[in-house]
Symmetry: D2
Subunit: 347 residues, 4 copies
């Protein structure tokens, strides 16, 4: 196969540099344009010294011209900046947007959390999402030329709970998700609460009471799995680690307890990137660092009448840039796993 | 006032050494016997080099004789070891047990989680616990000579949710608690999953689905607050930090949303160690390290129909040894705050 | 004794908030004015939530008037800002400067590292510094009204090496100091290399080859100990922890190996805040967090012909604000240890 | 090329599991036998869950028979256990020993640090080591069938200092190396000082005064570079991070300062895994996590008369298992960089 030219817009942020890390390991890809905003003219060697093979690359300005003759463009831009660039890229170029702009189908979900107009939605890039009819979201991604890559929290929460909803074994109105994220999930801009001195040795929530912008995305996905509306209470917390999300997800049991684990085994049996652990083993973000794998464990708490599912992922890999590469593979008819690590870096 | 002689049984563990740290700062206390098991004969300078003033103290064997002529004995012993020693200490000696042995009132709660016989229960050492009749648990502690110090998770979860139950604004049957703890909560014995290489950069749950022994204690406390049974889904997780618990606690809204925050303000207005933060500020374990303060924030998520309360505490201070000193003060008629830090160590 | 009114200029930085933490625990002190610059009008509850007793204090502007009728003013200001304020404070007010402005005696040492004019020097606030004649720096501090508080690295390196120089057992021309500091040493301003995502899991040097501004201060101190010039190669590194300095200090053996440890024992036998550990025990920053103690271990490497001394301190306590309080005690004729913790927070 | 069968003896330790991580990414390798001792019968999914593709592999006993028909065997065994197994493996099997047993050429260096008899020495697996005659150690590795993989500290210290010695610009008798290592360098066995609660937030030395077993290995290498004996003062410290070594290495300047940087540029210009950073950029262990790259920066401190070189590496990759794979490639005439990551995982 000929080499694909893949550019990255917003390469100095964490999502962008993770995309470059993965593209460097993809056998069918040649890294194309690497663009920034305030970082134009800087070398990747200064900005992202871990990307040694690209150390002498300079960031150029983010323009449609920068991506001329590209096969694929990955957008890792601030919220609201994707639509304009995407509109100027040819229709046959595959555009993968790591931002939130094109994820929400219903305008009302959008407007309750964002103050900009709702753009439109693109096929949603979570291949493993099981839908109410038993099909999977993967079907919408084969051959696509515009894909909205999921948020990092929604990826973990959705993969954790969708099988239970699709199987009808949990109730739609009392879902609780509490998730801990490493600091890279909050991006690269310097803020007081993200300073090392403030973070190390401390945990704290950010946003309590439903205000997080990922809530409607989780609800959209679980509603897709159930075939009817689901509401979610979501609390994100910041953990003293650079990468990783651990999502503890619970819903009220509304079916046969024995059917719960079976639903997960059935849904994910053939998925290369979703791993239901054997009973007695627990997900750990440290086991999936740099890997595109999500680890799950599920339990039924009959005493409390709830299903509890815990998911561990790398927020930058499966949670962002790995999902983009996975969708690239699907859209362009490559093997879905091409270039994607399933081995993590530990300890 | 004359100086109290206070001994610590199990001083080489984290709870015991934290008790010693606090006792060294208590103006009315003289540190008495310091005992261990496998560490007998070792100096505190080797075992707990942060306790500089006690560096030359040697640990002696844990026997009743070691505590002869003591006013107070703090037990920081493995599960099951407290009852025997306590029985051999005179009735007028104040015994504060940091273990689980005497916390649960109902035998049935005990036997569902422990395989030893249920001993009995002692007054429960959480002074700020508001009860269904509006009184507080503090009443049971004044003058007591045996006190069961609460577990670290139950302290956070109970202080987070009891006011809502006492005020009748949440429902008793869909309570979810997800809490992250630093590693000191798991004690000092060497285990593979507690090694630095395994913990740093990683989060993981331990026990999913209701099996944690702290669940019945949380349920007992919330039932005390409500005046009728409460069931709880509790998931503990291990965070890459040495100290601190962040507990995210949610319950179904069952009353006037406007009454929720008012219940917390009313309950904790005069409490020296429980701090409801102003709206817009979030609890952080890093703000209470070494301090006896619990920080709380409460929010009503009307969209999801749930009350969300987040609590931050130091698991070894307010979560264990600070609570013991607070109960010592109450039991012996000292000012409740004597010797207890409200200032944390940060950053 | 009447209560002293002590103000802090620059209270929103880490040195300033650590000074407040210690002052809150000092029995003879009342916290006076608390001033800032860009933070004027903010509450300490927002800026430093660990200082619970001061949560409702608002920062006021840093002016001489703010400190009217104060007994003591602690300056925790950016480099270059201390001189002007100090000049406007009455001569009988004790002024303790945590900045670098007044530390260097010789103008030439100053001008090789700073581009501002050399102000003058104040008595140097390291009481335990042993001088060539066997006296200690403490003598200059009793009754002083202006004191220059040492830098955090120089405190560790000086206490580690001065006894060997004063005893004449090491050579002055091949001193090497390599030190690791927690991130709080770099201050509170937000910089990319101090972000949690950049720091956690990583170590890096900052400045290699002698350019660090603390080098002349270390050399000045060791020259004081020896009575003739000493040159030092100093490399600071940034460690993934919020607090603490571990300084590994080596010098060429130039005397009787057996005299080395004896020199340390003699120098520090009666020092309440410097602890030479028993042979076989190693200093750890984790053992002195929040404490004013410096731990030392010394060894003679006869094979390499060098003396190696390792020092552990809390950079904000003994390395900055604790030293200020210690000098306050000395200057105002209080017991030197008053209000200063010798117990650390661990684990 | 046909696939090579590569087995790993001691696969449950950190060096062994890192070898497996790299072998999984090597295009010419098939993972053969995976052996342990106390872990025989356990699945890699339990022991090393990050190695997802090998999750169902069970560890078998470490015997010569287990490695029948293998092309390569990587030994990651405790000190002293390699010789016996190696002696039973056929001469034409490539054996790469990650332990210390075969590194030291001179018996006297061995016996001063080890209490077992000196076995013999194998070709030393540090290809980039420049020798006094300007050749490199790589020459000894092409076609070798027994290779002693260097220790993690010696790799960093040697690459940092050898060019200066080979160029004759530093003196042999006052070399100081102070290095910080992540906890994985201390191995996987559970010890109190390696517990997360003890390590996080703390730095400490382990061994002060020349007693570390890596000292003679560093001296051997630098003597090779200089062509005459070199003595080294080496102090290792433990840093609160799982991986990485930052080595600060200094030696007395003994030549033209301008020749120093040139020596490094010349030595490493064509090395794929050693990177001399541009002036003004600093090595960081966080930039080489999981990568086989060593970052260097060199400076001449004319004031102190010393050359200072700082090296950052991943102790498990270039410091151990990456070096083994690099030597495998050299020994078996594969491209030296085959299967070895030069991209790190960051942040």
């Amino acid at each position: 196969m000929r080499m694909l030219t893949v550019g990255v817009a917003g390469a100095s942020g964490y999502a962008g540099s993770e995309a470059l890390r993965l593209l460097l390991g993809h056998p069918d890809v040649r890294v194309g344009a690497v663009t920034g905003a305030s970082t134009v003219g800087q070398r990747l060697g200064e900005l992202a010294p871990h990307l040694a093979p690209l150390r002498d690359r300079e960031l150029v300005e983010t323009t449609p011209q920068a991506f001329a003759d590209h096969d694929v463009v990955i957008l890792a831009l601030p919220h609201g900046a994707s639509a304009q660039l995407a509109a100027q890229l040819p229709d046959d170029v595959l555009v993968l947007d790591c931002g939130a702009d094109f994820r929400l189908v219903e305008e009302q979900r959008w407007t309750s959390f964002y103050d900009t107009p709702h753009a439109c939605s693109w096929p949603y890039g979570l291949p493993e999402l099981v839908r109410a009819d038993g099909s999977k979201q993967r079907d919408d991604l084969v051959g696509a030329r515009r894909v909205a890559i999921p948020g990092c929290y929604p990826t973990a929460a959705t993969l954790a709970l969708a099988p239970a909803f699709a199987a009808g074994v949990v109730a739609p109105d009392d879902v609780v998700v509490v998730a801990a994220s490493g600091t890279s999930g909050a991006g690269r801009s310097t803020k007081p609460h993200l300073m090392a001195s403030a973070v190390m040795g401390s945990m704290s929530p950010y946003g309590v009471g439903g205000g997080h912008r990922h809530t409607p995305e989780i609800e959209q996905n679980l509603s897709t799995a159930l075939g009817q509306p689901v509401t979610v209470s979501f609390t994100p917390t910041l953990a003293p680690m650079p990468r990783g999300i651990l999502a503890t997800c619970t819903a009220r049991l509304a079916g046969d307890p024995a059917a719960v684990r079976a639903a997960y085994e059935r849904t994910y049996a053939d998925e290369p990137f979703v791993r239901l652990l054997p009973e007695g083993e627990w997900p750990a973000t440290g086991a999936v660092l740099g890997s595109n794998v999500v680890q799950l464990q599920v339990a039924v708490d009959e005493h409390a009448g709830r299903v509890v599912v815990v998911a561990a992922e790398d927020n930058l890999t499966k949670g962002t840039a790995g999902a983009a590469v996975q969708c690239l593979n699907l859209a362009l008819d490559l093997p879905e796993t091409r270039g994607l690590p399933t081995t993590g870096l530990a300890p």
